[in-house]
Amino acid sequence: MKVTRRDLFVWGAGAAAGLVFSPVPWKLLDDTSIWSQNWPWIPQPARSPVEVKQSFCSLCPQGCALKVRMAGGWPIGVAGVSTSPVTRGALCPLGYGAHQLNWHPRRLQAVRHKESVSSWGAAQTAFAKACGEGPVIVIDGYPGRAASSILEAFAEKRGSYRVALSPELGALAPYERWSGVPANALGYDLENARTIVSGAPMLDGWGSPGRFTRLWAESAAGAKDPQLRLIQIEDSFSRTGSRAWQSVRIRSGSESALAAGLAHVLLDERLVPARGPIPRLTLADAAAQAGISEDAIRELARTMVERRPTLVISNDENPQVAALNVLLAATGARGGIVRRTKGTRHLPADAVNLNARAILIDAKVPWNFTPETDAEIFRFAAWDDGTSKSDWLLPAPGFLEELTDIPAAPTSAIETYAVAPALSKPRFEVQSAAQFLGNLDPSLGTTEKLIHGRCNGLFRERKGTLYGAARVPLEKFDSVQKVEEQLWKGAIWTGDPPSVGGWRCELKEWPQDPEKLRSRDWASEWPAAVLPPLAVKLYQESTLREAPERRNA
């Protein structure tokens, strides 16, 4: 058989036509696309065994219990701890992405002095020099920790210790002035309240995420006549308002006027047993300022007392709103504001009038706290968003990089205590403010020693219950080592339920001149300078939340 040139052409054309109908080109296309999609520089997760450890989030004072999955020494995921009696398995949405924070591009990696890189030695020398030249103010954002004791002890020798109040703690500040009981000793007995009138984002970042949201879900959600009535009063229709039993819209900044109007109705119609001072603002003026009718205020006041106990919670420090709780006899009462501990009075850190040679700001102070002062500022921070006016920026431990203890959350009705061990090592040299001051003055002790002392104190008192793998009353432990061992493994100690009574507020006159309320949401109260990168899912890749006005979010 002779093969001609024509045969070759026919064979070639046939092969080309046949190839189109074979899987070969598709397979080639597929393989090419897979190859081109898997460039070697595409990140891949590290392959290593996963272990689960328990700790606590110390990013904000709520101190939520964490179940942390670790691989290769790094946290790779966090979840809540369902056995925690406080958070009951819940975290805030930002908490679920917090394990990525330590890798954030804005992580502060070196000491910075006036925008240029410096050293820990230079910072230490500059601070020691400042201490020798004049008074020093130490500002803490998370009081009650062992580290706070170190800050306080140092400040008492060299100047003064101040606390940047969280909005939750700020809302309790008026009661401190009226009764003398420290605000950090008070909490809300939400579980026993039947009506909660709120101007705070109760379902959107207020208090411990698991506490009120779970309570609301169990006793209010979806019911037309719920066991717990949530009445939300605010100037916009928030997420909390959308899920509340009743939502009342008022003009921005008119919360105090509405409180005065409600007080008028409560007293005039004898809806409350107590007699109290009558506000100067008339009901008509209150209605005009709040932008709702007098009848609406009357109706609201009657609804408030229909189901008692009634508790009023403000967004921030607002004496007139707080005075409503006094009229409603909700102070020192079941379902109201209770005293959980002795507490300690602290000077609040105002952003102005801070006269000192130097100011040291702890990393737990919210980033948006910027003092207006001529003093030299030494600010500890794990992340830097570039807006700080600090003279010195000192890298602090990041998420789960520091041993700390976790005192009771600001709104908690019961006393709690937990220990959050450091689960991962920082990648560069960091120091907490307590370590920094401890280096200057070794007599202050260390966080670890103080935590040991506190565990010892708990053991000696033998009160309360330890929630670990099981729920065990503290009196059943026979050594402090066993208590400590449980706490270091992620257990949480809870005190006995607070006794009602024992403290009460009295109003001699209706309070005036309330602080202007700040608008609050989940991001504005986030204490770190940056949000977890995955928060973009909430405000950029969905329309669930508005983009926070933060430069590096």
Partner: protein, 249 residues
């Protein structure tokens, strides 16, 4: 007996906090994409805010977590995929997506009546070093493929491995819980085996307040919603649930 994993989402309990969205992304190594928007981002779990469009005191809102509905019957995405990159796992009822087979034609995205599928427009990327925080149990998907919720299949694998190590043939039901279910602070999202009569989720799915989206298409979705609010049920049924897209605020 094969399982039929599904969910019941109690809309009355959802506060729209978004914990489910973030925990889903963290669990499944969904990349952080600086350029992504609501249209181009990857949100296998997406919470939509919808209202009844009434004014004043009658105004009501509800949050709808939308994810792959894991359609049981004539699953639209499975039927259109030219690559057999999507299939219904007969042992679990989970609609599986295999990125290695996907060509990125996006027919499945067009076919999905719930808009629960997402295309990877960019190479996955994280800030330097952040890859150490990724979940080693889930592979990173490449650019050019479609992805969606797979009910945290990696967690099912892990539960099976634990069961096998303990010498058991069946997994402990409490050992397999998707990330969004675990994260929900109000326990609005509940997960279980719909084929198991005694499973609380299976019973809840039969509640008179329970409903599914786009039932008229006959695809038998395995994600149920629940609400006592009449307007919510009416909204989901009106126009086959498509009105939610317009309501999305």
């Amino acid at each position: 007996m094969s399982a039929r994993y599904g969910m019941v989402i109690d809309l009355d309990r959802c506060t729209g906090c978004g914990s489910c969205m973030v925990s889903c992304a963290a669990e499944n190594n969904v990349p952080v994409l600086p350029k992504a928007s609501a249209r181009t981002g990857i949100t296998p779990m997406l919470v939509r805010r919808v209202s009844n469009h009434m004014a004043g005191a009658d105004h009501r809102e509800v949050f709808f977590p939308i994810l792959c509905m894991h359609c049981e019957h004539e699953t639209p995405c499975v039927r259109v995929c030219p690559q057999q990159a999507v299939e219904v796992d007969q042992a679990t009822g989970i609609v599986m997506q295999m990125p290695q087979r996907c060509l990125g034609c996006r027919y499945c995205m067009t076919a999905c009546p719930y808009h629960a599928r997402y295309f990877n427009w960019w190479d996955p990327g994280w800030p330097s070093g952040m890859e150490k925080s990724l979940n080693p149990g889930v592979a990173v998907r490449m650019r050019g493929v479609v992805e969606k919720c797979n009910l945290c299949h990696a967690r099912l694998h892990a539960a099976k491995e634990r069961a096998a190590a303990a010498g058991k043939r069946e997994i402990d039901p409490t050992d397999y819980v998707p990330a969004c279910v675990e994260a929900c602070p109000t326990q609005a999202i509940r997960f279980g085996d719909l084929a198991e009569k005694n499973d609380p989720v299976s019973e809840e799915a039969k509640s008179p307040d329970a409903f599914r989206l786009l039932v008229r298409l006959g695809t038998e979705p395995k994600v149920y919603y629940k609400s006592k609010e009449k307007w919510v049920r009416a909204l989901a049924q009106s126009n086959g649930g498509r009105s939610m897209e317009a309501e999305h605020v």
